[in-house]
């Protein structure tokens, strides 16, 4: 199956993002040749990340990952943006050591966005910017330090929200308990603990998101399983319907 080229925007190339990138680039290469995968991350890959992240060398995560994927997937344009995503009203310093891009500058109509950063503050910036566009999909996902994780799919079509903004169900998006690393100083960023996440949970988040992409983007089906919680320890997952409107536009297979 082939279709019109797409623009996938992956924000965060870390424990989830690197595994997600591997799936997204293959999807684009074979289902949507001529598409673009934009990888956005202001952070650098370090040896301490090796246990959970898929990189072949040290350097900026977006640049290294783009260089790794480009020769393998000639039908997909892979574009690194080695910058931190910040809000429109960010007034801090954007220098060579900490380059920034606003979410509004980054996102375009019809983008499919993957916000797999490790904090609610940056995800909120991305969701808020996306909510001002008419046609957009934003997938996000995260996990705890153990075997629990969750994903969420925000979708708008023709200016109408198909699924709700997650702020309606999650106070952590209304008042994020964390800070966007892109809006911290280099010193402050270096002091953030990476935690003790598990590779299996990172990969499961990436897999759940890929599954949703297959259903709602490739097959253009109803995103009624808008939010999914899972626990690999319990062997359970649970979908939540966060749709806003009657989505008769979708076909049933």
């Amino acid at each position: 199956m082939t279709s019109n080229p797409k623009r996938f925007v992956l924000v965060g190339a870390g424990g989830i993002g690197t595994w997600l990138a591997a799936g997204l680039v293959r999807l684009l290469e074979w289902k949507y040749p001529g598409s673009a995968l934009i990888i956005v991350d202001g952070d650098n890959y370090e040896a301490k990340n090796k246990e959970r992240q898929d990189f072949s060398k040290i350097g900026n995560k977006a640049v290294v990952k783009a260089h790794e994927l480009t020769p393998q997937f000639p039908n997909t344009m892979i574009i690194p943006i080695p910058k931190w995503v910040v809000s429109d009203d960010y007034s801090g310093v954007a220098d060579d050591e900490s380059p920034k891009i606003t979410a509004t500058q980054l996102l375009n109509e019809n983008d499919v966005v993957f916000a797999v950063v490790d904090n609610f503050a940056a995800r909120k910036i991305i969701f808020d910017a996306a909510s001002k566009l008419n046609n957009i999909d934003v997938f996000t996902g995260g996990n705890d330090d153990h075997l629990f994780g969750s994903i969420y799919h925000y979708q708008k079509r023709d200016g109408v929200e198909v699924t709700e903004h997650p702020v309606h169900f999650h106070p952590e998006y209304e008042s994020p308990p964390d800070k966007n690393p892109g809006e911290l100083s280099c010193q402050e960023r270096s002091e953030i603990e990476g935690g003790t996440q598990l590779l299996a949970t990172n990969m499961a988040v990436a897999s759940f998101i890929l599954g949703r992409v297959h259903k709602t983007i490739v097959n253009d089906q109803n995103p009624e399983e808008t939010e999914i919680y899972f626990d690999l320890g319990l062997g359970k997952s649970e979908p939540y319907n966060r749709t806003v409107i009657s989505t008769n536009q979708y076909t049933t297979v």
């Binding site: 999650h170 996440q197 939540y240």
Partner: protein, 83 residues
Amino acid sequence: MESNFNNGSAQQKTGMANVRFGVYNQPSNIAGKSVQEAREQFSKLWGIPTDAVAYKGKDKLDENYVIQPGDNVEFHRRAGEKG
């Protein structure tokens, strides 16, 4: 914040409602009980935090809200943060 604490007819209805928290989803004979009572019933079993807000759809429920038959009461589970 939705509340029906003073609605006498609402308090008398009993029957099945659905209680959810993260990966847990349990139809239960809990209609007629308050959100607070439902929290007490399921908190130890599922680990629901004492400050987890209860929702019915997008509406936040008061602790004294009396659960109605067919309600879908969801205790907020914080989304996965790291990645």
